[in-house]
Subunit: 220 residues, 2 copies
Amino acid sequence: MNYSTSEENYIKAIYHLQQEHHLVTTNALSNELDTRPASVTDMLKKLKQKKLLHYEKYKGFSLTALGNQVALGIIRRHRLWEYFLVDKLLFTWDEVHEVAEELEHVTSRKLVDRLDEFLGFPTVDPHGDPIPDKNGNIVKTRQVALPDLPLNRSAPVCSVGDQSTDMLELLRHYKIKLGTVIQIKKVFRFDNSMEVAVANQDTIIISEQVAKNLFVKYEG
Amino acid sequence: MNYSTSEENYIKAIYHLQQEHHLVTTNALSNELDTRPASVTDMLKKLKQKKLLHYEKYKGFSLTALGNQVALGIIRRHRLWEYFLVDKLLFTWDEVHEVAEELEHVTSRKLVDRLDEFLGFPTVDPHGDPIPDKNGNIVKTRQVALPDLPLNRSAPVCSVGDQSTDMLELLRHYKIKLGTVIQIKKVFRFDNSMEVAVANQDTIIISEQVAKNLFVKYEG
DNA sequence: AAATATTTTTAGATTTGTCTAAATAATTTT
DNA sequence: AAAATTATTTAGACAAATCTAAAAATATTT
């Protein structure tokens, strides 16, 4: 089956909201997609008709197994293109989203699978999010503050709590960006500072305050 | 300015038809795009309003300078993607058109220019058609039967007249495909057969009959 | 549990790109 | 040049995706 760009955007948004809150509301979706609730209702009916959604009016909705498969296909395309843009075309991580948002709607199976192969079957995109494989298998991740990451477990930085210029300056110094893979080697009891291995670099020591503001994607 | 996928498809079709016949008609366009003449008229009005087209009803139409620039942008994107698909993702020349047709509508300037650079600034696509550069400059080509190509002038094969299996079998033997660059080294007066240099291979001799059925893109 | 507030849905309109059928203009034939 | 044919345009309709305004269902407060 083939879906319109709009339908795909709804499916993707529902999938993402479902990961976070499990119960998705019409309003939340309307907010996410920047459309009016009435438009959302219209689309929900359509997606239900296409068997992508369980939906009973006023009672809520969720993706069917089919809807989930379709969502994972879209996410796979999105993240592969993001990887391509950063790895091959030398975009920075913060420039890729918009463009990938368009490229993801090109659905040729052959294109996507060949691209995957060309990129060397990457498993995470430049933001550290996992890329579903060609069968839709994906490693589930959750986001934890660095102090909650087990010792010696490597994980990519996926967001920064305090985004002040001071914090960002410090991160530049440590050469930590979004997607940088890090690992806790040791925690110092004295002040809860920790020794951290940064991918392809020297080990550094960061304060508890910094650690609390670094979030990593933790496959668990 | 930003144009819809439909608008872009019309502009591109008008550009291509203009290359061949110079005078483009509503019917020809309707035929090319597989839509009804009435729909074409509607779009012509819209494109005129957007200053992409000179158009007076019943009198004909042609692209403005702006329309031409836009067309070249689309063609640039199309051909760069075709090159990418063949060169990086190992598609064959006959598989790429459909996919490139979709990718061409992703308009990010940065994406296109970076892709161009990544590919090494190619000047022709896999079918031997020239790729406009970032300023819209393009080498004009015309299509001639091989016997009309000047001696020692290299040119890519762009189409085959007789597409019978017999002819295609022979071409497979000679290792000539669409896009293969060839060059006439000598013509034998006896039977008008000719010695032809095939890119990266031995020189071969082909009959007049074969030569007449090979068309090449000739920059002139 | 009433009253109030919020969320969701319906009803009806709008835009874009398309269509069919009919009307009009241009071209070709006789 | 009149008639016949062909090409093009107009008029009016439709589907997709959106909107606004109003109605209906659900949730919250007092």
